[in-house]
Symmetry: C2
Subunit: 436 residues, 2 copies
């Protein structure tokens, strides 16, 4: 723990809350939030401090992280700027960088450092390892290296660039793709399309497209709006997209085949590595198909299904499966699971689950062998039997109760089922051992 106080404004939700988990082991963390009741609850649960006032938080901290919704960020920066401690650091974590960067530059005194950042990971992330963070410093003061080294030690992938470049990149990565997807969804709504019905005419690639459109459209619409509106390049991106759409529409509606082919070829050239794109998207589709056939092949068999979000595992006999649902039977209990949200466990994952969750049987087996046997070979062979979890040698006996050229070995064998132990006994007698 470095003796440093880090304040998170907006610590009760989203990324701000996630940051608490990452920072509380290394620093003295304090948060503020709009909803005091919620903020206090989170702080209590996570063993950190809570304070109602953003400005009082600023007065107490060496580092202030502004993690409020994107459209409040400039106001919050301006609110706390005058209260920042001498030689302290302000960091923002918004997904646009030009506006917050400019606001910090204008509102902070010269002796206070600021670092605009964009952590490119969602609130559900639990490991910093290998995650991407973009830093867009205007100036690098004493704080910059500290932050850089800290992130580097966490094994994060650090991209250093300008706010302008960052926002341009994000205007493609987020603004353009979201805009195009939302437009498609909106057109479908205007056309009164029944998505469920179109899926019958399915090609797997179409279904994955629809899933991705649904995914983007279903985000919080305010967040979606501000991703569009807070990026300085937004108007240029949307205007260019609308231009491309109107141009292609006119070209096709007017039957101008040559012009269309010309535009398509130009666009294709610009896409770069087409064969990689085919390979990766084929693999994504194959993985979905593969799981589907795995399920179909497992009907009537024992199977383990893991919920992809809760990680909860259900084990039972797969009774039925269709496009959307899987019915699992365990004794008298029947469980209905949504196929989209489950993963099929591999044999070894299912085995591990059983070892952890089933009642294990343990038994001691004493067995007489010629003295020349290698007890480690016997022990290893028992351990390698199916459904044997563990085995150890608890006694090696030579003496009056058995012949002098023999030895009695006692194994303590733990197995998943009663039958697994019986298999171990069959192994021992099968090789000529005599069970006492």
């Amino acid at each position: 723990m470095i003796e440093m106080k880090v304040g998170i404004i907006g610590g009760s939700d989203g990324l701000g809350k996630t940051l608490i988990y990452f920072l509380r082991d290394d620093f003295d963390v304090i948060i503020s939030a709009r909803d005091h009741k919620k903020g206090r609850k989170i702080a209590n649960e996570l063993g950190i401090e809570y304070i109602e006032s953003n400005t009082q938080l600023a007065e107490m901290c060496d580092v202030v992280i502004v993690s409020v919704p994107i459209h409040f960020t400039p106001d919050v920066i301006r609110e706390v700027a005058p209260f920042m401690r001498k030689e302290s650091l302000m960091v923002d974590v918004t997904s646009v960088k030009e506006i917050p960067s400019q606001t910090m530059k204008e509102s902070l005194p010269d002796d206070i450092e600021y670092l605009p950042t964009h952590p490119i990971f969602g609130p559900r992330t639990t490991e910093l390892d290998n995650q991407v963070i973009v830093l867009t410093p205007d100036k690098k003061g004493k704080w910059f290296n500290k932050v850089y080294n800290y992130l580097d030690n966490k094994n994060m992938r650090i991209i250093e660039t300008t706010a302008k470049k960052h926002d341009y990149m994000m205007s493609i990565v987020q603004v353009l793709t979201h805009f195009s997807f939302i437009s498609t969804a909106s057109a479908m709504e205007k056309l009164k399309v029944d998505i469920g019905e179109t899926e019958d005419f399915e090609s797997p690639i179409y279904n994955l497209m629809i899933d991705m459109i649904a995914r983007i459209v279903a985000q919080n619409p305010y967040l979606t709006y501000y991703i569009q509106s807070m990026n300085n390049n937004g108007p240029q991106i949307r205007n260019t997209f609308a231009e491309a759409v109107n141009e292609l529409r006119d070209v096709i509606n007017n039957g101008n085949e040559d012009k269309f082919v010309d535009l398509a070829i130009k666009a294709t050239k610009n896409m770069g590595d087409i064969s990689g794109a085919l390979g990766r998207s084929d693999k994504a589709i194959n993985s979905l198909n593969h799981e589907h056939s795995l399920l179909n092949q497992s009907i009537g068999k024992e199977i383990g299904l893991k919920h992809i979000y809760s990680r909860k595992i259900h084990v039972g006999i797969l009774e039925r499966v269709d496009k959307n649902t899987a019915i699992l039977k365990n004794g008298n209990k029947t469980k209905k699971l949504v196929v989209a949200n489950i993963e099929v466990l591999s044999d070894s994952e299912l085995y591990d689950w059983k070892v952890k969750n089933l009642n294990k049987k343990t038994e001691s087996i004493s067995c007489v062998f010629p003295i020349r046997v290698d007890k480690h070979v016997i022990l290893d062979t028992i351990i390698n039997l199916d459904n044997i979890i563990d085995a150890k040698i608890t006694d090696v006996y030579q003496g009056p109760q058995i012949k002098k050229e023999d030895v009695s070995l006692t194994f303590e064998v733990t197995g998943l089922y009663k039958d697994s132990i019986e298999n171990a006994k069959s192994l021992l007698t099968g090789f000529g051992g005599i069970i006492r």
Copy 2:
């Protein structure tokens, strides 16, 4: 083989060529093609007949399948219609149905049946089982049931609907989604975006989006064009999409947050099963990430990599891997593989490959045990050892050469490596057997 002659116009390429494989075992197949040299070559290779003239083909056949590019289909239908045999059947396999259906209706005499179809699978398909085919009959004559039963016996998923409904569905599944993707790619080109550079600011969902856009854009631009232009609903779809785009652009550019949220919520509601979409797309992304970490964990280890298209398998020590390339070392040979095009073999797939491809070692082992042993238990235990491929008992000896309470068992053991056989010997002696 039913005594029936089936002609395929356009049999040298694409779906027409694929159909030969499916039909030649059941029928007497003849094809025609624009490129006679190519058509004759294909016919020779596949053991069927070739004829230069479409109209002569029609005169000879009970069933004529028109499988030419979508924009030639109406002309070819009109060309051969007058030459069709009495009571014969004409089938088309184009991805739009209204135009071919109307053309067949108008140009064929009353005593000739026609069936517009759309097989929704690509030319690379090798199994009809579980594939989707759409039938849009105007009238069902004697041929309809024959075709239906034939497809049903092949276990195909048959959708029966009208040409109008089909084309409307495909106008969403193909026309809208393609148009939106091509527009996005075209906008990227106009914006002079370097796709490679944006991928550094990657979220996995963005990369999969880009891959899917690239996939659609990279299709034959003429095919893409005709999918747009030959669908009667095309103009309505493109106009509605352009409307949605222009509306959303104006709403956002004018800062009309409430209106945007309103549109987004309406579009989201229409998308249907959002949680399924999230689950499936998360799984698609996870599968790509999973493979990436599998590769990273395998550096320095033996690994099997299968090319996803050629199915060729490369085995070796994984020397290095980055986002795009994997370097495999096998003895002195180094092989560079494109990550997008390979799949990592599972342990059991790698084992199967070795069993098929490596030089196996076989050895006979004679071993003396007490007569009470169970030779099947011993044999099974040998077979279950790692890298043992097969074992059998070739001799069971009792007699003057060994003690009378003993038996000599001879096992013929086949293993992947010399060491695997040695392990089998250690097992036998470890359990007290004496190797002769």
